[in-house]
Structure formats: C-alpha cells, structure tokens
C-alpha cells in the first residue's frame, strides 16, 4: 500500500479526458489522492507501481480493456486484493456480469452522479 496510509490512493483510468478529469476532481475534493491513467496499459503499470487502495476503471479503453486490466490485477500478488470499480456505459450493461467474472467489486453506469461515485468508493473501501 502507499506510504501515506491516512490518505487512500485511487487509480482512475479512462481514455476520455472529460470523464477522467471529472472523476479525479471529485475524488480529490473528497480527500483522496488520485493517480490518473489514459489507457489500460498505463493503468496496469501505474497500479503495479503505486499499489493503490482502489481502482476506478473504464471498461472500453485502448490497448487493454477494463476487464483485462482487472484480470491482470487479480493475477499479481501485489494487487490481488485491490478493489476495482468498473465504469460502463448503459449500452454495456449486459456485460456487467463479465465485469464481475473478471474480478471487479462494483460498477457504475454512465451517465453517473459524482456524489454516487464518491459513495461507492467509500463503500468499497469500507468493505476492505
């Protein structure tokens, strides 16, 4: 885990600048430390480097999609227990079961409420 244990670190991965910026901004305002990734490969690299307390990741991303990143996080000893929240669009709702199958802990459907996002993050971190 990160050295600043009092401030949980959240890795936010989304190739859409607007979504990534919104999620990162809202989480920072809520007191979390945020690391941002623009694609699946970068998300995986940063996750192994920082070992965050939580990962919020978009399903559809270049290079590696959210499911694959989740599977790989689960296969690495350092990140095996890091909770993952998937961001999906409504049209991908049918794939939510794939998300849980890959090891995700929760999901959030776009469009989403920033307040709900923070509540989910708190809930998932509280379950650990």
């Amino acid at each position: 885990m990160t050295e600043t244990a009092a401030i949980p670190t959240v890795l936010v991965a989304d190739d859409d600048t607007d979504v990534r910026g919104l999620v990162a901004y809202r989480l920072r305002r809520s007191g979390y430390q945020v690391v941002e990734a623009r694609d699946g490969e970068e998300a995986l690299r940063l996750a192994l480097e920082h070992v965050p307390d939580l990962v919020v990741i978009d399903v559809m991303m270049p290079k590696l999609d959210g499911y694959e990143v989740t599977r790989r996080l689960r296969s690495e000893e350092a990140t095996r227990r890091v909770p993952v929240i998937l961001l999906t669009s409504r049209s991908q709702e049918a794939d939510i079961t794939s998300g849980f199958a890959s090891g995700a802990d929760d999901y959030l459907t776009k469009p989403f409420s920033p307040d709900e996002l923070v509540a989910r993050v708190r809930a998932v971190l509280g379950r650990r």
Binding site: D18, V19, L22, K110, S113
Partner: protein, 335 residues
C-alpha cells in the same frame, strides 16, 4: 508547342496553388483545434468546480471562452446525472441556449441545423424541450426525425412513447434507433405500451407487444397470451416471443397450440418461447416439429428441444438423423 507549354505551366501553377491552399487549410484547422484544446484545458477546473458545488463560472469571458464553457458543459451533460446535471440544464436555460436551440429546431432552414439542434437538446436534457422534440418527429427530413427520436430517448420521456411507436411502425426513423429510445424510457413506457395493444393498427400492436416483452413483467404475460389470438401473424409472432420472456408453465398449453399456427414464423416463435420456458411437457411436440416442419420452424424447435430435454433430443437425433436436431444437439454439446 508553345500552347502546350502554356497549358502545362498553368496546370502546374494551379496544382501548386491547390496544394498550398490545402496545406494552409490544414494548418489553420490545427491552430484552431489547438486553441480550442488550450481554452478547454484552461477552463476545465472552473467548469468542474461549477458542476461539483455550483461555484460561479468566471465572468467577463470573451466569446471564444464562452463557447469553450458551453462545449465543456455540453460534453459533461452526457456524462453526469443528479445535481451536477441539473446545474448544467439551469446554465443552458439561463444563458438562453435552450431557447436558441428550440428556435433552430422549429425554424432552422437547413436539415443539418435542425438535426444538430435536436441532438443538442437531447444532450442538454432539458425537459422543456420535449414538446418541440415531439413535433420534430413529424419533420420532413429523416435526419431531423432520427435526432429527435434519439433525444426523446435520452430524455426518457414517457410522453413520447406513442409518437415513437408511430414513427417506428411507419418506418420514419431507423427501427433500431426507435427501439433504443423506447428501451431508454424503460418501465415508465409500460402503461402506454399496454394501451397500444388495443390499437387498430396491427404494426402498432406488434411493436407494443414486442416492447412489452422486453420492458414488462410477469403481470403482462396475460396480455401477451391474449395477443396469440390476434388476427395479425406479426402480432402473434411477437406475442409468442414475449411469452417466452414473461411467461411461466401456465402459458405452455397456449404456446403448444401456437405451434400449430398456419403461419411458420408464428410456429417458430412459439417453439423458441417453449425453449425458454423449459417445461418438459413441450418435449414431444418440439421433437415432432424439429423432425417434420419447415426449415425455420424445425430449426427453432430443434434448438428448443435441446434446451428442454437434451437427452431425449440426442436420442431422437440419433434415431432419425433429422438434420436440424442433429445440428442442435451438436451445438448443445459444444456449449
């Protein structure tokens, strides 16, 4: 010879001019894009603060920066809901942007302007746009009608159900788009779909029962079963498929009767529905149709029989060699 040289020279000059024009255009577009990105980056923190807590947006902005704020808010309108979205709608209404797009949708001279206005109103998601978007479903241009349909779906307006079903059955908009919009409206569409089951127009009844099968609940199974007696084969077909999703063992007997409908598409739909319900009472009838009915019906019945009773389906396939049954058993074993 001299004339030829002049022609070559003129063509070369024209070609060079054209290349320079294209290059200049590309450079100008790149500069414009870079400027837009820079302004978006500059203003994004203020926009995010506005979305998050309603902090006032910067005042005294020049026209380009005002446009950048509107573009950013338009992008975020598609991504957020709740209080953040309410702030965006309030902003667009306060700034007169909703009124401007409504005026463009009703009075825009070009198809593209009206279609863009319809699209923007859906992205902004102001409920005040619903009546104008409903009227736009009757626009002469398909692009405008399609954009209005999409936006009514995004607005999840239950008041739009009948109108969207109407443009769906008339073929005024792409069918997939109309279905998408109705599915977006969700369960709030169900009461209006139920009333459309009594429509005088068979296509409307067919669309209504199809969508009820997707959006309705067990309480709608009885209505779907009644539609199995409809005079229109298209309605009976959709009713059978809906029963496959909503029905239970109580509806198996009626679906078994539909297996003997004179129209093959209805029989195929009934077979598929019986497969979904997985009641072994249907096995004999499904195996019979899998071996002896027409192509599409036999294929649907074979697949259903494998779902209901894979062992008996395999035995019958081995005994008869019925091609659809053999294929369905093989596919079932692979899965």
């Amino acid at each position: 010879m001299a004339t030829f040289a002049v022609v070559v020279l003129v063509l070369a000059v024209a070609n060079t001019g054209l290349l320079l024009l294209v290059a200049w255009r590309r450079i100008a577009l790149a500069i414009t894009e870079r400027g837009k990105n820079a302004r978006a980056q500059e203003l994004r923190p203020a926009v995010l603060a506005f979305l998050d807590s309603g902090e006032a947006l910067p005042s005294g902005l020049d026209r380009r920066r005002q446009e950048a704020v509107a573009d950013l808010l338009g992008d975020y309108a598609r991504l957020v809901r709740g209080p953040a979205h309410t702030r965006i709608v309030d902003y667009f209404e306060r700034e007169g942007i909703v009124a401007r797009e409504l005026a463009a949708l009703t009075g825009g001279r070009t198809t593209s302007r009206r279609a863009v206005a319809a699209q923007r109103l859906g992205d902004i998601a102001s409920l005040s746009a619903v009546p104008t978007l409903l009227a736009a479903l009757l626009d002469q241009q398909r692009d405008v009608r399609a954009a209005a349909t999409r936006s009514l779906g995004r607005l999840r307006s239950a008041a739009a159900v009948e109108n969207i079903v109407l443009v769906l059955v008339k073929g005024d908009v792409p069918a997939a788009l109309a279905r998408w919009a109705l599915l977006q409206i969700g369960t709030e569409a169900v009461p209006r779909l139920r009333s459309l089951l009594a429509s005088d127009v068979a296509e409307q009844r067919a669309a209504a029962v199809e969508l009820l099968g997707l959006l309705g609940g067990a309480a709608d199974a009885g209505s779907a079963e009644e539609r199995l007696h409809d005079s229109s084969a298209a309605v009976r077909e959709q009713a059978a498929l809906a029963l496959g999703r909503l029905g239970s063992e109580h509806h198996v007997a009626r679906l078994l009767s539909a297996l003997d409908d004179r129209i093959p598409t209805v029989r195929a739909a009934a077979a598929s529905a019986l497969g979904r319900l997985r009641d072994p009472v249907a096995t004999d009838a499904l195996l019979e149709h899998a071996c002896n009915d027409q192509f599409d019906v036999a294929r649907a019945a074979a697949r259903a029989a494998v779902l209901v009773d894979p062992l008996r389906a395999a035995e019958r396939a081995a005994g008869t060699g019925a091609p659809h049954l053999v294929e369905a058993v093989e596919v079932g074993q692979i899965r």
